[in-house]
Symmetry: C2
Subunit: 426 residues, 2 copies
């Protein structure tokens, strides 16, 4: 067992209280949370004891929307509107990607997640075998969401992947999904709805990221993307909408009624000038929330601390209300809500039997002092510099600035540079 | 001399190009920038050679508006509107501060500046002797801006401090200023205008931070704060307006004509729901810009990386234009503009004869990879985790996560906790 001792613990198991207690990890699970008796300590066998020295142990953050392999486009084509950026820069480069490219670009993203206290990503991309290998080789947890586009015949691909990837490895799962309404034909949307019903499974997709996307959909179908998906049964078993910047009141009702998660990506939406999602209104309407970075080409960091900060301060701006979306709610969205949005209910908090996806926050940094209120410190002044350790499924993958992912970080950087060079010249 | 070698250098000396060259530091100044000849290398005597191993050397960031000692209120009274926060939370606590409190709370802020690659602060506070001692003891550079309020008799205090503090120490300077229109009587504003004329000196103050502040001023004087200050000669020799969220077109003309810097504090303005400053419009009108964090009680971090990110993404949102305020301009505002806004023209870039206020950015972190475009990487995915070294006036004060400020960081944290406890019970 691994013992975390002499620290503060934020379990997020129903509350945002920080308490002095211990957490023990056995294999990939949390085995004990509390103050151990002398008897318990006498019989426990620890392979490692981690002295937190007063630092904070908390559930790892979960990145509920990303395209990890897009690291290769970071700072390559910034400062463009979303549609130009997507169609003239991103898609042509992506068309040339090999599986090996995706492998290395994903490994780079995983390094960055670990520096930000993130234990799992909800990822939409392609070359999935290579993507999966990058995650397994790194020891990182991922939930893939299918990103299929085009015609109805592509639904068979989604089904095949759904059956093949689920259950293949404890760190890997796969959920029904498609890229977006604006890249799917009606037949594909219908077929996805059929799959949802057949497997009684949630479906996730980009939804209402831009005003243009919604306007075009209304022009084409006479309905918002959400109403369209709902009419086809796509959301019958829940799922997630990524971005959700332009949901109507009726869309929000559908989200609430069907238990669909609205996954917000505030940094990406700001950087691409897409807008600010109506988070406080979604909360009022009872919609469940998750938080994600979106891909590194549009963000450009994979930093859930910056994401938490923007989530709340943009709501304060949007509502002209400094009290909007307090820190406790933000933490709960980023750790627990995000985990549940991607189907990782077993990773949503620190409790016995849950997966040991944890992070240690260094409170002995100037940004965390004085220690008046730890949740507020995390959300309002936390950053990657505070992440001391990240554990996924009971294994320490990042500690004290060093990575334990089966490959040297500098090798990963060099491989990425080499693969990008080859891609450009292909 | 200290030699920085084998690195990339971003001088910001008229361009945002990154080049492979060396920088040598002699005493507190930059002595050489370029590729040295064998002859130069033979005759140079280096007390230390810093091998950058490909990392980036750049001018340190300058924090052009802050209240450093307010670290004691970080995460203490969040999620309140500005006026409530100021009058019910901040002012009553501040009234009880001792000089020794200010000393330790300032030392804490300086630690955080160093972790964020910041070499100088433009600070508004009180207990100035203690504040100055904290800076000198730490080796940190500061420009104080007077924060006087109330009646005209207080102008004599400003003048006395102006004469006393300027020239007292190479790291310390002092500029004419006052807290804000809404805490000053008309007589004080008149007297400050007289001082500006007497010393042909710039004046800095809070200006148009909230819509309420501007509306109240118009109600009282029939003029915006900027027009009022201008009518009294306060801006006759330039200066700075802190925040500048609600400037009218005419206000901007005054700023441009008088050479007044608009210092933006995007994180604080967002967190307090004050609004988004019209930065791109200010640039169109020819107004010079600086960037600051504001105090840690309203931000809550003292992190110029987060400030740079918010500066640009909030402009993209405000203008519905993803191309608004590109990264090069942001860097120039945060390093050079901020330096000049506080009168530190000798710290605004890397060039021979300038002060050696420098920072080293670790490019071997996942967030900085791949290296397509370093200025964009800095602004869009940079954070404190990338700051490897911060040098002020030729002295390394922060390197590899360790502080060299004449006092142990943990002692400073303990002193702050102790002083806060005493303050609460006073």
């Amino acid at each position: 067992m691994i013992r975390f001792k002499n620290g503060r613990v934020l379990t997020l198991d129903g509350s945002c209280e920080v308490e002095n207690k211990e957490v023990w990890v056995e294999g990939d699970k949390i085995a004990f949370v509390g103050k151990p008796t002398d008897e318990q300590l006498k019989t426990a066998v620890f392979e490692r004891e981690i002295d937190l020295e007063g630092d904070l142990l908390m559930p790892a953050l979960k990145n509920a929307h990303t395209h990890s392999a897009m690291t290769f486009l970071r700072s390559y084509a910034d400062d463009l509107p979303l549609q130009d950026w997507l169609f003239t820069q991103v898609f042509p480069m992506e068309a040339k990607l090999t599986g090996e490219d995706v492998y290395w670009f994903t490994r780079l993203a995983i390094l960055e997640y670990l520096t930000s206290g993130v234990s799992a990503s909800y990822d939409m991309y392609f070359k999935l075998d290579d993507y999966i290998k990058a995650n397994i080789d790194s020891g990182f947890r991922t939930v893939m969401c299918d990103a299929v586009s085009d015609g109805k015949e592509r639904a068979a691909v989604v089904e095949e992947r759904y059956l093949r990837y689920n259950g293949m490895h404890p760190l890997i799962s796969f959920r029904l999904g498609f890229h977006a309404e604006y890249t799917a034909q009606y037949g594909l949307l219908e077929a996805i709805g059929e799959l949802a019903k057949k497997y009684k499974a949630p479906v996730s997709t980009h939804n209402s990221e831009t005003a243009k996307e919604v306007a075009d959909c209304i022009k084409k179908y006479g309905k918002t993307p959400t109403a369209l998906f709902d009419s086809l049964g796509i959301y019958d078993y829940g799922g997630a909408g990524f971005h959700c910047v332009y949901l109507s009141e009726e869309d929000m009702d559908i989200f609430a009624e069907k238990g669909v998660y609205a996954v917000s990506c505030p940094c990406s939406n700001a950087k691409l000038a897409s807008g600010i999602a109506p988070i406080t209104r979604l909360i009022e309407k009872g919609v469940k929330l998750g938080l994600g970075t979106d891909g590194p080409a549009s963000n450009n960091a994979l930093d859930m601390f910056r994401e938490m900060y923007l989530l709340t301060v943009l709501q304060k701006l949007r509502n002209s209300d400094a009290a909007a979306l307090p820190a406790d709610e933000v933490l709960s969205i980023a750790c627990s809500g995000s985990a549940r949005a991607m189907g990782l209910e077993n990773c949503d908090c620190i409790a016995v039997g849950k997966q040991a996806d944890l992070t240690v926050i260094d409170l002995n940094k100037p940004s965390m002092q004085p220690i008046h209120n730890i949740p507020k410190n995390l959300v309002y002044s936390g950053s990657k510099e505070n992440v001391k350790l990240t554990m996924v499924a009971g294994k320490v993958l990042y500690e004290g600035g060093k990575f334990f992912v089966g490959e040297d970080d500098r090798t990963i950087y060099a491989k990425c540079a080499e693969h990008f060079e080859a891609l450009k010249n292909r």
